[in-house]
Amino acid sequence: MTINEFLVWLIQFSPLFSSALIVMLFYKKSSISSNISIAGIGFSWLLSLWLLFSSIIEKGHSFVMDQHLWISVFNFDIEFGIMTDGLTAIMVFVVTSVALIVQIFSKGYMEHDSSIPRYYTFLSIFIFSMLGAVLASNLLQIFIFWELMGLCSFLLIGFWFEKPSAVKAARKAFLVTRFGDLGFILSIVLIWNSIGSLDIMVINSKVTSMDTNVLLFAAFGLLCGAMGKSAQFPLHVWLPDAMEGPTPVSALIHAATMVAAGVFLVARFFPLFESVDMIQTIMIVIGITTLILTGFLGIAANDIKRVLAYSTVSQLGYMFVALGLGAYIAAIFHLITHAFFKALLFLCAGSINHSTDTFDMRNMGGLSKLMPLTFTTFLIGSLSLCGLFPFAGFWSKELIIGAAYEKNIIVFVCLMVGVFLTSFYVFRALIMTFFGDFHPTSEFSKLKKHVHESSRVMSYPLLVLAIPALFLGFIDFFHIFEEMLYNANPYLNSDHGEHHFHLFIPVISIGLITLGAIFSYLIFYKNYLKLFRNNLNSSFLVKLLNERYYIDYFIEKVFVTRFILGSLGNSLVFFDKKVIDRAVNFTGKFSINIGQIFVRSVNGQIQFYSFAIIGGLLVCQIILLLVSFYVLGT
C-alpha cells in the first residue's frame, strides 16, 4: 500500500511535535525529554521505511501529492508540497536512520550534561528542518528549511555557550554558510524572474527554455549555497571549527546529514547543473581542490574530531567531483555510504572521548585493548572510509573513480591521490589512537584504569552503524536504487554516468590504500621520521598545514578585522561623526550665530529704530533709482 500524504507530512513534523512537547511540558525533566525525542524520530523512521517501500514499488517515480498555496499575491504564487520520488525516499530513510541512532547514542553521551532537554529540542528541530529540505517540492521551501538547518547547526555548535571558542565557531559556521546562501537567494530571484515559478519540477522542465546567462548565474548561485553548506573550498573553513559542538551533533549534522544537503541540492536540480558545462567544470575543480587540500590538513591535525572533519570535507569533495562528472547516482550513493560510516566514526570518537575526556590523539594510544568494541567498529568505519573491498565505501568510491577514468584522466589521477591521502590520515588516526601505548607524557597514562568500554546505550548504536558500513555496498546488486534515483528525475540527460567496470581501477586503489597504510605505519608507529622531526616541525610545509593554508587567517584577521572592522569601518564611522554630523551641527550653530547678529538690532531704543526706518527707506529709494536708471533705462 502506498503511503499517503498525511503520513509523509508526519515524517517531517513528528520531530517538531516532540520538541514542542519537550519545551511545553518536560523542559525540566532530562530523561523524559530524551525519550520523547527518540520516540518522535523513531516514529518518523518507521514511516520513512513505509515511504521507501512505496517508492521502491513505484520504481522511484514521484507519486502525486497535493500542493498547498502558501503565498498568493499579485503574480507571486508559491505552493508548498511534498516531492516523493526515489531521491527523497532514500534521503529521508538515511536521515531518519542516522538521526535515530545518534539520538540514542546521545542519551549515553550527554548523561552528565545539565541541559539535556535543550539539547534534544534543538536536535529534534534540526531533524525536522533537514527532512523539510529533503521533502520540499519548491525551491523557496527548500531554502526555508535550509536556513533553519543553519540555525540549528548554529545553536548546537554553540551548545556549550560558556566556551568562547564554541560561541565563535557557531557564529563562524552561520556566517560562512550564509555567505554561500547569498548565492542561493540570488538564484531564487533569478529563477523567479526568468520562469515565474519556483516549483522544482517546473524549474527542471524549463531548463532548456531559460536564457543561458540566467542559467549560468542561477546554477552558480545554487552552487554557492551548496558549497557553503557542504563546506567546499573556499567555504570549508567553518566545518573544522564546528567540532566545538557535542560529538553526536558533529556525527549527525556535520558529517551525515546537513553537510550532505549541498550535494542533495545539486542532485535535486541536476538538469539545471547538467546544462551548463562551465558549472560542471567549476564543480570538478572545486571538488578536487577541496579533497586534496583538506586531505593534507587531515594528516596534520591532532584532534581526532578535526581529522574526521577534514575527512568529511574531503569526501564531500569526491561527491562534488562526481556531480561535476555527471555521475549523479554515484554522488548520491557515496553520500549514503558516507553518511553511515562517517556517523559511525564520529560516534566512536565520542565514545573514546566519553571515557578518556580528550580528543587529542597525542594523548591517546593503546585503546584497542581497553575499548575493543569501539576499536572494532572504528576499524570498520575507517576501512570503509578508505574504500577497501568489500566495505561500503569501496563500492561508492569505485563508481566515482570509474566515471572519472572514462571522462578525464587528470581528474582520475587526482582522485587517486585523494585515495592515498585518505588511507594515510585514516591509518595515522588509527595508529595514534588505538595502537602502541599511552603517550608517556600524557596525564592519561596515570588514569589508565579509568578508561573503559562505553555503556550499552553508546556501544550498541556503534554496532548498528557498523552493519551498513560493512554491507551497504552489496545492497544495490539488482540496481533497484540506481533505477529509483534515475527515475527520480525525468529531465536528466540520457548519460547519467554509467560506466563499464575496469578491474585495474580497484586494484590500483587498493594498492594505494595499502601504500598509505604502510607509510603511516612506518612514520607514526615505527617513527622512521624521528631524525627529521625537529626539522620537520619548523618546516614551511608543516607550518602551512598547521595554519590551514592561512585561509582562516586571511578571512578572519585580514578581511574581517583589518578591512571591514578596521579601515572601512573606522573611515565610515569617521565620516558619519565628523562629516555628516558636523555638517548638521554646523547648520544649527550657523543659524544661532546669524540670529545673534540680528538680535543686537532689537535693542529697544526708539532712536535706533527710527534711524533704521529712515536709513532703510533711503537705501530702498537709492536701489529703486539705480534699478530704474540702469535696467529700465529711463
Binding site: 498555496l69 502558501w70 503565498i71 498568493s72 499575491v73 499579485f74 503574480n75 507571486f76 523557496l140 531554502f143 526555508i144 528549511f145 536556513e147 533553519l148 540555525l151 548554529f154 554553540g158 555557550f161 560558556e162 568562547p164 560561541v167 557557531a170 557564529r171 552561520f174 556566517l175 550564509r178 555567505f179 546562501d181 547569498l182 537567494i185 540570488l186 531564487i188 530571484v189 533569478l190 523567479w192 524572474n193 571591514i564 572592522l565 572601512l568 569601518g569 573606522n570 565610515l572 564611522v573 558619519d576 555628516i580 554630523d581 548638521v584 544649527g588
Partner: protein, 485 residues
C-alpha cells in the same frame, strides 16, 4: 469606527491628565485600558471593512475651510489596507510601550504617550494633505517632551536634534504638499489619487524631490540619518519602541501614499538613483552597526540598514517590490520594537547598554536571552519569521528593474546576520563577567509586552497569506492610479 479609534487616545490623554492623584486611578492602568480599546477597535477593521480594489473603510468627510482657498479644504478620515495594518501596528506597539513603562508613575508621561499614539494614528487615517501634515507635525511635540523629560544621557541635545531635523523635513514636505495641491487643485488624497499621474513639469519634479527628501529624512536614509541613533540612545524604552516601530514608517507611508500615485512616473528617471541610495544605506548602516559599542546604537543603525530595503523596493517601482517594501514597514516595526523592548529589559537590570560591559548574562536572564535571540533572528531575516517574507519579496520584485541594486541589497542579509549574532553573542554568551542583583523577567507586564510582538512575528512568518492579502488590497490605489510599471 476609524474616527473613534483616532479620538480615543486623545480622550485618554485628557482623562489621564485630569485624573485625581490617588492610588486608585493610576495613570498606567488608564493608559493600558484605552490602548487596549484602541487596539481592539483597529483589529476590527480588517473584519468590518472591505478593502478590495483599494476601497477605504470608515470613510468620513467634513468640510473645514471652504471660502479661504480657491478649492475647499476638508477633513477626511478612512483607512485602506495599508493604513489599516499600520494603525494596527501602532496600537499594538502602544500597548507594549505602556506595559514596558509600568514602573513610571508620572501622569504627564502617559499623557504624552497617548498624544503620541493619537497623532500617529492621525497620520495614517488622514485623507487630506493639510490634515496629514498637521498630524505629522503634532507627533513632534510629545516626542520632544518624552525624550527631554524621561530620557537618559545627552537627552536635551538629542531631543532638539530630532525636532530640528524633523522640522527641516516638515518644511520640505509642506512645500511639496502645497505645490501638489495647486497642481491638482485639491488637497483631498482620494481625489488626487483618482486623477492618475500628473503631467511632467519642472514644478512637479521640485515637488517630487521636496517630498522625497522630507520623507527620506524620516525613514531615515543616508545621508539624512544622524538624528536617529542619538534620538534612540537617549530616549526611554517605550519611546524607542514607538520611534523605531512606527515613526520611521511614516516616511515610507508618505512615499507610498503621496508621491507614488501622483508622481510615480518620475521613478523611471530617478529609480536607479534612489535604489542605489537605498542599497548604499543598507551596507552603510550595517557597517556602522559593527562599529557601535552601545546596544541601542547597534539597533538604531540596523534600522537605517533595514529601511534601505524599503527604499530599494519602492524605487524598483514594481508590484512585488512595492509590496515587499510595505510589508517591510510592518515587519520591521514589530521586530525593531521587540529589539528595543529587549534592550530596555537588559538596561533595567544591568544599568548599562555598553556591549563590552556585559558577557555571559544568559545564565542570569534566560528569558531575556530567548526574547533577544528571537528578535535578533527575526531581524536577520530567518525564514519562518515575518522579516524573511518581506525581504525575499523585495528581492524578487526589484530585480527586474534594478538588478545590480538588488544584488547589493541581497548582500545586506549577510551583514545583518553578522552584526546581530555578534552583538547578541557578546552580550549573552561567553564567560560570565558580572553578577547583577536583579532577576529575570518576573512581572506580567514585561512578559506580555514582548509576547504581544513575538506572536505576530512567528505566526505570520509561518503563514503570511492573511497579512499579505490585506496589504495587496491596500496597494490597489497605486495600481488604480497607474503608478506601478
Amino acid at each position: 469606527m476609524v474616527v473613534l479609534t483616532l479620538l480615543i487616545p486623545f480622550l485618554a490623554s485628557l482623562m489621564i491628565s485630569l485624573s485625581p492623584n490617588s492610588a486608585k486611578y493610576q495613570p498606567k492602568y488608564i493608559a493600558l485600558f484605552f490602548s487596549l480599546i484602541t487596539f481592539l477597535f483597529s483589529m476590527s477593521f480588517p473584519f468590518i471593512y472591505d478593502f478590495a480594489d483599494g476601497a477605504y473603510g470608515g470613510y468620513e468627510k467634513f468640510v473645514w475651510l471652504n471660502e479661504l482657498f480657491p478649492f475647499e479644504i476638508s477633513i477626511a478620515f478612512g483607512v485602506d489596507g495599508l493604513a489599516c495594518l499600520l494603525v494596527i501596528l501602532t496600537n499594538l506597539l502602544a500597548i507594549s510601550a505602556v506595559l514596558i513603562s509600568f514602573n513610571i508613575k508620572d501622569k504627564a508621561y502617559y499623557t504624552w504617550l497617548m498624544i503620541l499614539q493619537g497623532s500617529i494614528i492621525g497620520v495614517f487615517v488622514s485623507l487630506n494633505l493639510i490634515q496629514f501634515f498637521i498630524f505629522w507635525e503634532l507627533e513632534l511635540l510629545p516626542m520632544f517632551m518624552l525624550i527631554t523629560f524621561w530620557g537618559t544621557g545627552n537627552r536635551e541635545y538629542s531631543a532638539m536634534k530630532f525636532v530640528l531635523y524633523t522640522l527641516v523635513a516638515s518644511a520640505l514636505i509642506l512645500t511639496g504638499i502645497i505645490i501638489l495641491g495647486y497642481e491638482t487643485q485639491s488637497f483631498d488624497i482620494i481625489q488626487i489619487n483618482s486623477m492618475g499621474m500628473l503631467v511632467d513639469s519642472e514644478l512637479v519634479s521640485f515637488a517630487f524631490w521636496f517630498l522625497m527628501i522630507g520623507f527620506l529624512i524620516k525613514l531615515p536614509i543616508f545621508p539624512f540619518h544622524t538624528w536617529l541613533p542619538d534620538a534612540h540612545t537617549d530616549a526611554p524604552t517605550a519611546v524607542s519602541v514607538m520611534l523605531a516601530g512606527i515613526l520611521l514608517k511614516m516616511g515610507g507611508y508618505g512615499i507610498l501614499k503621496i508621491i507614488l500615485p501622483t508622481m510615480g512616473f518620475l521613478l523611471n528617471d530617478y529609480g536607479l538613483l534612489l535604489g542605489s541610495l537605498g542599497a548604499f544605506s543598507i551596507i552603510y548602516g550595517a557597517i556602522q552597526t559593527l562599529k557601535q559599542s552601545d546596544l541601542k546604537r547597534v539597533i538604531a543603525f540596523s534600522s537605517i540598514s533595514h529601511m534601505g530595503f524599503v527604499l530599494v523596493g519602492i524605487a524598483s517601482n514594481s508590484e512585488l517590490g512595492i509590496l515587499g517594501a510595505s510589508l517591510q514597514l510592518i515587519t520591521h516595526g514589530l521586530i525593531s520594537g521587540l529589539l528595543f523592548l529587549g534592550v530596555g529589559l537588559i538596561y533595567e537590570r544591568t544599568n548599562t547598554r555598553e556591549i563590552s560591559d556585559m558577557s555571559g548574562i544568559t545564565n542570569q536572564f534566560p528569558k531575556i536571552t530567548l526574547i533577544m535571540m528571537f528578535a535578533g533572528l527575526a531581524s536577520l531575516g530567518l525564514p519562518g519569521m515575518i522579516g524573511f517574507i518581506a525581504e525575499i519579496i523585495i528581492f524578487i520584485g526589484s530585480y527586474q528593474s534594478l538588478p545590480f541594486v538588488t544584488v547589493v541589497a541581497i548582500s545586506g542579509v549577510l551583514f545583518s546576520a553578522a552584526y546581530m549574532l555578534w552583538s547578541l553573542q557578546r552580550i549573552f554568551f561567553g564567560i560570565e563577567k558580572n553578577k547583577y542583583n536583579s532577576e529575570d523577567i518576573n512581572s506580567w507586564p514585561q512578559l506580555v509586552s514582548t509576547l504581544l510582538l513575538m506572536f505576530p512575528i512567528v505566526a505570520f512568518g509561518i503563514y503570511p497569506q492573511p497579512f499579505i492579502a490585506i496589504m495587496e488590497e491596500g496597494l490597489n490605489f497605486l495600481l488604480n492610479a497607474g503608478a506601478i510599471l
